[in-house]
Amino acid sequence: SQQGEEDPQALSIQEGENATMNCSYKTSINNLQWYRQNSGRGLVHLILIRSNEREKHSGRLRVTLDTSKKSSSLLITASRAADTASYFCATDRGGNQFYFGTGTSLTVIP
């Protein structure tokens, strides 16, 4: 299939813990983006990492990209209940071909 895959599919942690989600994809990419979707809402862009970058930070978020393994990880540090959402990776293969993974459902327990 053309889309990426996140794992785990579901993750439940205590508030204050770190959450790590992984994304694997199958083809070469221009960039990879992570999105958050709260239940019943739209997607919110979190971070974009280009194919020539290996790591990027934004607040409590850290994203890594390993193009040799065709994988990326999203780390959320010091999680909060408000981080409860589904997280998707999306790969840009160029030519406006943009594909989403299957998502990780994160639950942060207060």
């Binding site: 889309q3 221009n30 960039n31 983006q33 999105y35 979707q37 809402r41 739209g42 997607l43 919110v44 862009h45 974009l48 589904s86 998707f88 999306a90 840009d92 160029g94 030519g95 406006n96 071909q97 943009f98 594909y99 989403f100 299957t102 998502g103």
Partner: protein, 111 residues
């Protein structure tokens, strides 16, 4: 100010009807998209438009047709709606290989 806005937010309609979902972006982006999110939350790209040119159509039935009156708008028309069309439809926009911004989604229910 809303960057990507789509209307309506909810749409309930009977099988066989024809309906449209509107989308507008005020970001000056040159590419707009429509995505379908099924009940398992899987997001699949349906169309993208770049400068009024359709450049992706991912095996979407021809009952679905995007219409772009100008660079800031990409509307989705659906003819002869079927039960399986029930889903959440997201409009999005971006610059080439840039961040993609999404609308809040339209939940379509076909009864």
């Amino acid at each position: 100010d809303t960057a990507v806005s789509q209307t309506p937010k909810y749409l309930v309609t009977q099988m066989g009807n024809d309906k449209s979902i509107k989308c507008e972006q005020n970001l000056g982006h040159d590419t707009m998209y429509w995505y379908k999110q099924d009940s398992k939350k899987f997001l699949k790209i349906m169309f993208s438009y770049n400068n009024k040119e359709l450049i992706i159509n991912e095996t979407v039935p021809n009952r679905f047709s995007p219409k772009s009156p100008d660079k800031a708008h990409l509307n989705l028309h659906i003819n002869s709606l079927e039960l399986g069309d029930s889903a959440v439809y997201f409009c999005a926009s971006s610059r080439r290989s840039g961040t993609t911004f999404f609308g809040q989604g339209t939940r379509l229910t076909v009864v």
